[in-house]
Symmetry: C2
Subunit: 139 residues, 2 copies
Amino acid sequence: MDPRVSFVTLAVADLAATRRFYVDGLGWEPDFEHEDEVLMFEVADKVVLSLWAEWGFEAEVGPVRRGSGIVPITLAHNLATRPEVDGVLAVARAAGSPEVSDAVEREWGGYTGYFADPDGFRWEVAHNPGPIGQRVLPD
Amino acid sequence: MDPRVSFVTLAVADLAATRRFYVDGLGWEPDFEHEDEVLMFEVADKVVLSLWAEWGFEAEVGPVRRGSGIVPITLAHNLATRPEVDGVLAVARAAGSPEVSDAVEREWGGYTGYFADPDGFRWEVAHNPGPIGQRVLPD
């Protein structure tokens, strides 16, 4: 098996709320959508982010973990400069993110903050000046 | 904010077990690793999968959701043919995946199965003959 991710799928409780946040709020253009079931965005070359209604996810994959606490994943959006990090966090706040934490300097040399989407999935908005952080930036 | 994912981070309980599964079992080559804290793989052009020790994740992001049920995300690995799907599921089983479900035909025309990593994160192994499924395949 080669190390390759084609889709990242998040199960969402209310796809209409998800759509309002990502499409109306963040201004993303759907790559594909099917009624009240799924909404997809191309988020890298050959990688699609799929927001899938929880009922569909549970029917196929199984009952999801419920309760308090943060789902143990984050998606990071890396940027070339610190001011861009602040700018994207401001956009997320304006889009109605239920939780935004301002960026701070990290001990590893980066500058990162987080915002939550309507289901509480955490996005990390990051400037990472190290080699791996530079390598993920758009050309 | 442009629709772009740079890192997908999963918080893992036991990084040594994670390493045994992905590196020794699946045969993946780490792109970066730091002691018992983090293990990274390049999983698409400009996209890195980061397996982060849960203690580090919780210290920075917050307490994770615990309990039964499946973490409400999946990562998909798409393939050009049905036999390749069966092949990768066999590899995951041989690598010691704690749970593998054989691929089945899906109503939308695909052929997919799932395996779990040591933390129970679900990987979907998929043949998707539709346009979006074809677009994510390697050149």
